[in-house]
């Protein structure tokens, strides 16, 4: 799950384009600190939006499309790719939709309450190089939007589009001249979609309605081209799609979260998210899934797993210490894993600062690689002493 983005939704509600203008207006202005973002949660006025409440309401393919009456929503593609000469890449292409206000009809081709944000990142492991691009657009005048049949979500010329009337295969396309990265990837059907939480209803807090709709495609065979600075690499690999929409906020004592999407070579996929309290303990809503080779799902709850950081990497750019290596345990399923960042610097210093990147999976204590995956870290601050004026 992507709690980061819940927070972003609230950032949007409160600051909207303000963050963005701040960045435009003052180059030195820092992006909103995720921790401050968390403190803003609950301040948004969610009246008029729907909330995720009853388990089992997800219907596919209908729910691949947009849910404008919910506050926020995303299509989150990540994956690990390998070229013919064994060069490895991580990629992320994410489309976020945020509603600034409940839908209301207005007389203008530009009128909309829907705002789109997209993040596109490529990690070139061989070159120890991670690049990220961010774009915003309003969901009007064809700048960004979602169509249902065939499915297409786009912002500018970045898009994820069904190539047939079916949802899969999907064609991912993105190109950013400023950073020099480009992606053209075809995602084929792999495992069927998995409904997370309780039949798709993923609780985020104790109160009812404080939840999201959440489903995942944990394994999608991918093939296509990654380009860095105009050099094309033919690649194949595995992608992961997280879909989530909600109108909800975090509990007041949650300061951040860590998310893992791990694709094991034995064919199983493990998803875990840990909501952190200020004292480091995990919130009771922390959970996950283990998806078998046949696509069957085993729910994992708070007491079924543990995650612990084993190494911190301090970003020279922002001064934030990110835990880039972890020990992950799910004893019931015999899993005891070391998760290590493919490269430390996959920090995303964009509108909201977070860490999102490719990871390798090893047996705890050492041994041959067991798989690859993606990890998301949020809510980490600069140590106060190091905070520049």
């Amino acid at each position: 799950m992507r709690r980061t983005l819940l927070a972003m939704a609230v950032v949007f509600a409160a600051l909207a384009a303000g963050v963005f203008w701040l960045r435009g207006g003052h180059e030195a202005a820092p992006p909103a600190d995720t921790a401050t973002v968390v403190s803003l949660l609950g301040s948004g006025d969610d009246d008029g939006f729907r909330r995720a409440a009853r388990p089992g309401d997800i219907r596919l393919p209908r729910d691949h499309g947009s849910h404008d009456d919910y506050r926020s929503e995303w299509w989150y593609f990540t994956g690990n790719l390998t070229s013919a000469d064994a060069r490895e890449f991580g990629f992320q292409l994410t489309f976020f939709r945020f509603a600034l206000a409940p839908p209301q009809p207005r007389e203008s081709g530009w009128a909309t309450n829907q705002v789109y944000m997209a993040h596109f990142a490529v990690a070139d492991r061989t070159a120890d190089d991670h690049r990220v691009a961010e774009r915003f657009a309003r969901g009007a005048a064809g700048l960004a939007g979602i169509t249902g049949k065939p499915f297409n979500v786009w912002l500018d010329d970045w898009s994820a589009a069904s190539t047939t009337a079916e949802f899969l295969p999907l064609q991912l396309s993105a190109r950013d001249t400023a950073t020099g990265i480009a992606l053209s990837l075809r995602l084929q059907p792999g495992k069927p979609p998995v409904l997370q939480g309780d039949r798709g209803l993923s609780a985020k807090g104790a109160e009812p309605g404080n939840a999201s709709w959440y489903y995942s495609y944990t394994r999608l065979p991918a093939a296509g081209v990654v380009a860095v600075d105009g050099v094309n690499f033919e690649v194949t690999g595995l992608a992961w799609l997280d879909r989530e929409w909600s109108t909800s906020s975090l509990a007041a004592d949650v300061v951040g979260w860590d998310w893992f999407g791990l694709q094991l070579e034995d064919g199983r996929d493990l998803m875990l998210y840990a909501l952190r309290h200020r004292d480091g303990s995990l919130a009771p809503q922390s959970a996950g899934s283990l998806v078998g080779t046949d696509g069957s799902r085993r729910a994992i709850w708070r007491d079924d797993f543990s995650v612990a950081p084993t190494k911190a990497w301090r970003s020279p750019a922002t001064g934030v210490s990110w835990p880039t290596e972890w020990r992950v345990r799910v004893p019931d399923h015999g899993l005891e894993l070391d998760v290590r960042a493919a490269l430390d610097d996959q920090e995303q210093d964009v509108a909201v600062r977070y860490w999102e990147g490719a990871v390798d999976i090893f047996p705890a204590g050492g041994g041959a690689r067991l798989g690859r995956g993606y990890m998301e870290l949020t809510g980490y601050r600069r140590p106060p002493a190091n905070r520049p004026r």
Partner: protein, 838 residues
């Protein structure tokens, strides 16, 4: 006893007391200076403000934009931004709708309303803002109807704060705006910022986006330009915009400045004539001063000191009235610029110290220059002779020949300049030289004419009056020159405008040759062959329709993006194009080969003609098009190229139509209009107008454009009257003894009055008649030299005899009217007092 000091206070007192005792004289002198200064200030102010306003409008909300896309033939639809980003690779693009509004709380000033997409603006890293907006306003800006941000300068003016609702006067029916925040920043721009959706939902005159700002990589513009040109949009560097505005408005500004200098020239003559009169009137006093031992330089200094005091008053008055007049003029000028060039939001932009200093300097300078001659005259006079007027007249007559020679010499210089130049500034210098030559020659010519009249006309009163006018040349000369100049300006500018108007009206008859115009509201939607064919069929089937023409106008696809390309499928029974040669033959050649017509402006600015070729960027790359002929066009001075529509479509990937012309069978025009309107109402995607209406609108804009010139003509007329009043007062005053003698000889007061009126009438008529050739010359120069250089277009030279007759009549009537009071006063004063004078 008067000491040797340069200007003893007593002397100055005596000098100024003269003006105090003659308030009319005082008023005339000051008015002359004030008028000239006011004209300069007002016109400069207009030019300055328009420049400032344009500059400001180019700065607003540009961020790091390198280029902009503007409509050039076709409106820019909302979908253009998505097209740019998704298909043409221009992701850093920001749509802007710019319009104007007027708050009910601030009726006197309009303000710019910028409609932007905050996210797009961010892509251009709009950094100049000076700081983020205050208040929690962004979400509301995008989601609340009517939400706006005010610049801090405007908020201060309106005394508005976040949360306030501001009622709008303009656009009408727009209701209220809600202030959701302020834009901080230390610039003093006044503007309103709103989400583009908010602006789009306000009532507006034009459709589509005002522009799209772009931040392009090197080389990207070259790929993009032809793509956009095909769609009727223009791509150009932002930096070029200011430059282009400069060049667009340059001709306009130079024209205005020339007019203001003309006003000053006339004003200077006025000053000269009033000061000269004041000197003439005090010959006796100066003679007395001299006989009492006052030195020449002291007399000279006295006259200059007087003029210094009077100039100061005149300049201050002129500056003040110039600013007031200028505020009005600015509105006219800016409206004209908006009409003619771009729908920019321009407004009054205040007065610069430099401008005031310049006007002050010119005011004093011209006054001193004008006063120097009479001052010298006063100083040069020997004590005895200074008291003798006939000596003055004799000397004046001796100067006739040198003056004539000087005028002829200046005329030759003027001709030399005018023949040789292709630039606007020297052309105006040449015109001034020519006018000055005419002004120099005018008194000489009047003298000659009056002599001739006096010698040949057997009617005694007339010959007497003529002789009297000729004899009093020291006073009548400058007045005649001033009056002649004023009337010549009046008639010359009038002739030019009249000729231009006739040419434009004539051309409108060619270019709008259909009876009814049908415009697709969404040209793109019709751009498939089937839909267009279906529409054309429906239009042809309307009752009374004899013929149909089609046209499309886009920005010139030649890389420069300057100028336009017009593709026409003319109707066989139509009149377009207005070109030399047989219409059928031209159209046949255009249809048969890659040949084009070019407008006069195009031909002249690029120095091309029939037989030459232009290269255009077609869908298949650059292609040569041979120029078949030159045609008349007044839509743009940037140049227009015209080609046959089917040829255009075969070369360019554009099947849109801007306009379809319907030609009615004779007498069935109304029927066609009604049928077309019914069709439009039923379909809902067409606009229908009549050509007559568009012609009328065009001429209305034309007339508005020249309103400022009319104001100038009015000033010239005013100067004429003041000049005549001045001259006649002087003459009548000097004629008192003469009148007394005549009275003593037995003429009745009525006869004397008629004689006086005859003289003033003669004077006015002589100036008016002289103004005819000078006015015609001025008009000819404006048409043949100035307009060709500035705009590249020619026009018929239509001599409006009625207008010229009017000018002569104006001069004569001005003479009569101005002489009314002096004539009567002269009679009232005589005879006893006048005869006792010696």
């Amino acid at each position: 006893m008067i000491t040797g000091r340069l200007l003893p206070p007593l002397l100055l007192q005596a000098g100024l007391r003269f003006y105090v005792r003659h308030p009319g004289q005082l008023a005339l002198t000051i008015a002359g200076i004030a008028l000239g200064v006011a004209a300069i200030v007002a016109i400069d102010l207009a030019a300055y403000s328009s420049r400032q306003a344009f500059a400001a409008s180019t700065r607003l909300f540009r961020g790091q934009a390198t280029h902009e896309v503007t409509p050039a033939g076709s409106p820019i639809p909302d979908s253009a931004v998505a097209l740019l980003r998704r298909e043409l690779g221009a992701t850093n693009s920001a749509p802007v709708i710019e319009t104007r509004l007027r708050f009910a709380a601030q009726v006197e000033r309009a303000v710019t309303l910028l409609g932007i997409d905050p996210f797009s603006a961010g892509r251009l890293q709009t950094t100049w803002l000076g700081g983020p907006p205050t208040g929690d306003s962004f979400t509301r800006l995008m989601t609340e109807p009517g939400a706006v941000l005010l610049s801090s300068a405007l908020a201060a003016e309106l005394d508005a704060a976040p949360g306030d609702r501001l009622a709008l006067l303009e656009p009408p029916g727009a209701g209220e705006l809600l202030v959701t925040g302020l834009l901080s920043g230390n610039d003093d721009e006044r503007y309103v910022l709103a989400d583009i959706a908010t602006v789009q939902s306000l009532p507006r005159r034009s459709v589509g986006l005002s522009r799209i700002d772009l931040r392009l990589e090197a080389g990207q513009a070259d790929q993009l330009a032809p793509e956009l040109a095909r769609r009727g949009w223009r791509l150009r560097p932002v930096a070029a915009r200011l430059g282009q505005i400069d060049s667009i408005t340059r001709s306009f500004r130079i024209n205005l400045q020339a007019l203001s200098l003309l006003a000053m020239l006339v004003g200077a003559f006025l000053v000269y004539s009033t000061v000269a009169f004041a000197v003439v009137r005090r010959r006796e006093s100066f003679g007395l001063f001299r006989s009492l031992g006052t030195q020449r330089r002291q007399v000279f200094a006295l006259v200059l000191a007087e003029i210094l005091v009077l100039s100061a008053a005149g300049v201050v008055l002129g500056l003040l009235s110039g600013i007031v007049l200028g505020a009005g003029l600015v509105r006219l000028v800016l409206r004209t610029i908006g009409d003619l060039y771009l729908s920019s939001s321009v407004d009054y932009y205040g007065v610069s110290a430099l401008l005031l200093a310049k006007a002050t300097a010119i005011g004093f300078g011209a006054s001193f220059a004008a006063a120097a001659i009479p001052a010298l005259e006063a100083a040069r006079a020997r004590p005895r002779i200074a008291m003798n007027r006939s000596a003055l007249e004799r000397r004046r007559r001796r100067q006739l020949l040198p003056r004539l020679l000087a005028a002829a010499g200046l005329g030759v210089v003027a001709a030399g300049i005018l023949v040789g130049t292709a630039r606007l500034e020297p052309a105006f210098a040449g015109i001034f030289a020519a006018l000055t030559a005419a002004a120099l020659a005018a008194p000489v010519l009047v003298y000659g004419v009056m002599h001739w009249l006096a010698g040949t006309v057997p009617w005694l009163p007339l010959s007497y009056a003529a002789r009297s006018v000729a004899a009093n040349l020291s006073r009548t000369g400058p007045a005649v020159a001033a009056l002649m100049l004023a009337v010549a300006t009046f008639s010359g500018v009038g002739l030019m405008i009249g000729s231009f108007r006739i040419s434009v009206s004539d051309w409108l008859g060619y270019s709008l040759d259909a009876d009814v115009l049908v415009r697709p509201d969404q040209p793109a939607a019709l751009a498939t062959g089937a839909r267009e064919a279906e529409l054309l069929q429906a239009l042809r089937a309307l009752p009374g329709v004899a013929d149909v023409s089609r046209s499309r106008r886009v920005a010139l696809p030649d890389g420069t993006g300057l100028g336009g390309l017009l593709a026409v499928d003319p109707a066989p029974s139509g009149r377009w194009p207005q070109a030399e040669g047989a219409r059928d033959a031209i159209l046949e050649r255009l249809a048969a080969a890659d040949r084009v017509l070019v407008s006069e402006s195009f031909a002249r600015k690029r120095e091309l003609g029939p037989g030459d070729a232009v290269n255009l960027l077609t869908a298949a790359g650059e292609r040569r098009f041979e120029i078949d002929a030159i045609f008349t066009d007044y839509t743009t001075d940037l140049g227009l190229v015209a080609m046959h529509l089917p040829r255009y479509r075969s070369h360019f990937d554009d099947r849109q139509l801007d306009s379809i012309g319907l030609f009615a069978e004779p007498g069935r025009e109304d029927e066609v209009l009604e049928a077309a309107q019914e069709l439009a109402a039923a379909r809902g995607d067409l606009s229908v107008t009549t050509s007559a209406w568009v012609r009328e609108l065009s001429l209305e804009i034309f007339d508005r454009t020249f309103t400022i010139t009319q104001v100038l003509r009015l000033i010239a007329g005013l100067v004429a009257v003041i000049a005549v009043v001045n001259a006649l007062q002087a003459q009548r005053l000097d004629s008192r003894r003469e009148l007394a003698t005549l009275r003593a000889l037995g003429l009745s007061p009525g006869q004397l009055l008629r004689l006086g009126e005859l003289q003033t009438l003669l004077l006015g008529a002589a100036a008016g008649l002289l103004a005819v050739p000078v006015g015609v010359l001025l008009a000819w120069l404006l048409i043949v030299v100035v307009n060709r250089i500035a705009f590249g277009w020619s026009m018929v030279f239509d001599i409006d005899w009625a207008l010229l007759g009017q000018a002569v009549a104006l001069a004569a009537v001005a003479g009569l009217a101005a002489g009314w009071l002096p004539n009567r006063r002269a009679l009232r004063d005589m005879p006893a007092v006048a005869l006792r004078e010696d």
